[in-house]
């Protein structure tokens, strides 16, 4: 057990093991994404009220769900960095931020596109939409803070503090926005999905959610590998790797 943790702290080991993981996970992810998205796009029955625009759910919901989970991944990595001073956690946190922000962006954009045929407007100040927008700001805040520091070690610590504060706040934000919206907007616009979802629609959705989780993991690992190399630019294992000319 301890030796495992010890190894986790060793960049060369992490670099090689993540390479092995990626060699398997990346193809699986791509296949799952392809299957899930074509299934949703081509083979499911359209929703009886929304028609074909309903197919956006197969990218919208997975992106939203994984983006939210991504913030927690980032915050937990930040906590580990602060408490146990593990450098790998810092690498993970830094690598998760752009992926999470991109997925949040996808969720917002697909939601906005979905809104036009469904609600007749690109944007409404719905509770979930608003809190998703706030999540995007939280992600951008972490990225911007990291970039603003010159000393990257300090940047990691500062972002870890920010992530933790943000993590405490996410449920508060979500609850308050939800409550705020129900106060103002008595059920004139409602997601259709809350009630019951047909299993023929559910299975491809579950598949794409899983695929998006895998996608997040892949991107996280690949970002971490690039980051590990850059941080270890002066260590012998990186120099060896560079001179070996192989990039795997």
């Amino acid at each position: 057990m301890w030796s495992f943790f010890h190894k986790l702290g060793s960049p060369p080991w992490l670099y090689s093991i993540s390479g092995v993981i990626l060699r398997w996970l990346l193809p699986i992810t791509l296949v799952a994404l392809a299957v899930g998205l074509t299934w949703g796009l081509l083979f499911t029955v359209p929703d009886f009220r929304q028609g074909n625009s309903y197919r956006i759910i197969y990218i919208h919901v997975p992106a939203a769900v994984v983006a939210l989970a991504g913030y927690y991944v980032m915050a937990i990595a930040g906590a580990i960095n602060l408490i146990w001073k593990m450098k790998m956690a810092d690498v993970a946190m830094k690598s998760a931020a752009p992926v999470g922000a991109a997925l949040t962006f996808v969720a917002l954009l697909t939601g906005a596109i979905w809104g036009k045929p469904t609600w007749g407007t690109w944007w409404v100040w719905d509770a979930r939409i608003t809190s998703m927008l706030i999540l995007l700001f939280l992600y951008l805040g972490v990225i911007a803070l990291y970039e603003a520091f010159d000393n990257k070690e300090a940047a990691g610590k500062a972002c870890a503090v920010l992530c933790l504060v943000g993590m405490v706040n996410i449920p508060i934000i979500y609850k308050s926005v939800d409550w705020w919206y129900s106060l103002h907007q008595p059920a004139s616009i409602k997601f259709t999905g809350d009630s019951s979802i047909d299993t023929s629609m559910l299975y491809p959705l579950l598949l794409t959610i899983a695929a998006f989780y895998a996608l997040f993991t892949c991107c996280l690992l690949m970002n971490m590998r690039a980051e590990l190399l850059q941080r270890g630019a002066r260590t012998s294992w990186v120099k060896k790797l560079a001179l070996a000319g192989k990039s795997t």
Binding site: L33, I59, I113, K116, P117, L243
Partner: protein, 66 residues
């Protein structure tokens, strides 16, 4: 497949533009986040190799000397 013609697939009963653009944007973003880290890593390795070779002045350096 649900759609019976290619045209139906494209228009999706009037919602085609929305659905296809949403999927397209998503796929572009996914491609970007999948490709960017690999490129960053390879570019860095190339740069470092170049620097190391330049500082040694010997293109055929072996691993033991590092």
């Amino acid at each position: 497949m649900y759609f019976d013609s290619f045209d139906a697939l494209l228009t999706m009963g009037g919602h085609g533009g929305f659905v296809w653009s949403a999927y397209l944007i998503t796929i572009l973003v996914m491609a970007a986040i999948l490709i960017a880290p690999g490129r960053r890593r390879k570019k860095f390795l190339r740069q470092l190799a170049g620097e190391l070779k330049r500082s040694r002045g010997d293109p055929n350096i072996t691993e033991e000397e590092v």
